[in-house]
Symmetry: C2
Subunit: 385 residues, 2 copies
């Protein structure tokens, strides 16, 4: 236990990656719940759904047809949040012009992809084996590599990595028409997390700007480095492996922890043990071990409340266009933010106080880690079959 | 229109209160929706519910009974997120001790209240008249006043305000046992916003620490003031009243706008037109006009999609314990964050990209303001009765 007293008293914890605090109320899990309950997910999906716009061979919203792909298939989102080509907009900011200070806007261009994880409509990362997840990791790596700037410090590593990953026979994405700044890979899983299609897939949004969250992480990791001469996540991984109480699982290359500053009830972080700046730094063995870590998280989540566990996950790594120093400050990690609190149907709401004042959590990350450590083993659905 | 082109291109807008950016994708509202739908709210509640822990005369979870109150009634939350008395915890931070840098925690004490808006189980702020909402504003003011530090710069204003607000015959809250730093008044309305009881009520969390959001606002308003010599919200109110396109409604003392940097689809901000540092600065007429503004927002929300519109709202004002300068930097305003996007059943999810990278919105604040301007008039439910 960190400091025993933190199991009883309300306290704030500091998130050194974002530089902000959150409120922890360990005594509050006892309150009764009369509010909204999520309906437990039924797993009665077919392996192929003719109405699904992600299944192999099917037609999509804007008329394109999917190939008869085998595992992963990437295409440009038919309803992208950003587009590559648009009108220009060049506002000026002027200290003496109030509107230019208070009504600031900047154009953002980019390209958004959808990437399927499997041809099967009814599977999830929790059902797949690490070997079946490997093509997903490989495709993430290939897409990231193909979007790197020509002068990127990881360009040579990217070339090297590509020699060890076979091309996707179902098609590769083309490089963007102009250089973009950042690539955000993320998955929304489950209706509770705004996912509109159960077919296993993630999204990849590339933008001409560095978004807020990875931006804050770079700044804070950079500060830590110049203050201590060491990498924040390097120190953090070593500390957690030594303390053990927040570690959920590990293999040779990755550790899964409920971070000290976790905001969501069962939030976890997959962190690479050595300094991996981006996906292209991983070798073949490490890519499989990353797939294994993702599988462990997804399966343990489903086992925890014996349900198809909703979450949003996302990968942070070096920007597509960055300096040597920014690349060195980056450290590959993957966040999982799941909303469930006490069962398949009772979720934690990040609402009033959380939005107006400060995020608040009930169970401690140490308690969450202990529960997740205890639900390894076979996927609960397998034993029901 | 601000700059016509912003209706078509994806762009980022800057929030000067928090100092962060968000992504706006005006072209994305067309995408089809196959995901979760909220169930439209049925308004078949009784005026009195014997099982409701907020109705007059009923027993609460821990055995206390509510008085037979007439409108507002405040009591200490039976499951408070923070408590006034708890064990102490004094960690040391030391540059050479990694654990003290990366595993930081600080104790937080405080007191949490629940405050009913009405004795009627089946009403909402949208159903109530400004005169019926006035006791709510008055109770907020009395509770805020009774928690101010002895040396607070607004202490005299508070005394003055209290002479114009009658005591609540159904009981007053007692001052805290030790001085607290901040008071966050907020309402979670609707099951979609984690509200566990439809009886109209808000919560008031007082804490020994200044939370993240009001903290960021104070810093950013302070910077603006030292840069320009003017108040950020003063400039902003004047600018919006001149531009008009984001103004939803106004009376003599308050303006309701969809802020330039709105994150939620129909987010609004109620801002006082003159420099009001906290509730205790309002005179009798202004308190009624504040009630009127709150009523306008709640009614327009319900009219928009003809439903009992869910939202979280919250008031930002001067901290309970602050310097003269911090009080002068504060400016009373109230945020409303509603999740609905296109109808009573389709909400906007702040998930994957929003959590991992940056908040993203679809319709522009100008489009939202135009819709909210158009749905004034009688509450839609009234015409159905
Ligand atoms: O205290 P309540 O109403 O039971 O709880 C609600 O509001 C709190 C403050 O925003 C949140 O922390 C809870 O997740 C939410 O369910
Ligand atoms: O693109 P999708 O899956 O339709 O949309 C989902 O993910 C997006 C990115 O996190 C969110 O902006 C949407 O609110 C959500 O419904």
């Amino acid at each position: 236990m960190p400091d025993e007293v933190l199991n009883d008293i309300s306290h704030r914890r500091y998130n050194p990656l974002t530089g902000s605090w959150l409120l922890v109320s360990p005594h509050r899990t006892k309150r009764p719940w009369q509010g909204a309950q999520e309906s437990p997910s039924k797993s009665t999906l077919p392996e192929y759904d003719s109405k699904c716009y992600l299944c192999p061979g099917n037609k999509r919203a804007q008329g394109d047809s999917n190939p008869d792909y085998k595992n992963t298939f990437a295409f440009v989102n038919d309803y992208s949040a950003v587009k590559e080509e648009q009108q220009d907009y060049h506002p000026e900011t002027n200290k003496n012009d109030v509107a230019s200070l208070l009504l600031q806007a900047r154009p953002v261009t980019g390209r958004c992809y959808v990437l399927t994880f499997s041809a099967k409509h009814d599977t999830t990362l929790a059902d797949m084996t690490p070997e079946e997840i490997l093509p997903v990791i490989n495709t993430w790596t290939r897409i990231y590599a193909s979007h790197l700037s020509p002068s990127h410090p990881l360009k040579d590593h990217a070339k090297q990595a590509l020699t060890t990953i076979p091309q996707n026979p179902d098609g590769e994405v083309s490089p963007p028409t102009h250089q973009l700044k950042n690539m955000q890979i993320f998955e929304n899983k489950g209706a509770a997390m705004g996912c509109s299609n159960p077919h296993p897939h993630c999204q990849i949004w590339t933008t001409s700007t560095l978004p807020e969250e990875p931006g804050k992480e770079l700044v804070n990791m950079g500060k830590y480095k110049s203050d201590t001469g060491r990498h924040l996540l390097d120190d953090y991984v070593k500390l957690e492996l030594e303390k053990k109480e927040r570690v959920v699982w590990q293999n040779e290359s990755f550790v899964v922890v409920c971070p000290w500053w976790a905001l969501w009830p069962f939030e976890v972080l997959i962190i690479s043990k050595r300094h991996v700046r981006a996906l292209v730094d991983l070798d073949e063995k490490e890519r499989l071990e990353f797939a294994e870590a993702v599988q462990e998280v997804a399966r343990r989540y489903d086992n925890l409340f014996e349900t198809n566990f909703p979450y949003s996950s996302g990968i942070h790594q070096a920007p597509l266009d960055c300096t040597e120093e920014e690349a060195e400050t980056s450290w590959l990690h993957m966040h999982f933010y799941p909303p469930l609190l006490r069962s398949a149907t009772v979720k934690k709401f990040l609402v009033g106080y959380e939005l107006m004042a400060e995020p608040q959590r009930d169970i401690t990350p140490e308690q969450a880690a202990a529960k997740l450590r205890d639900c390894g083993g076979k996927l609960y659905r397998k034993s029901l079959q």
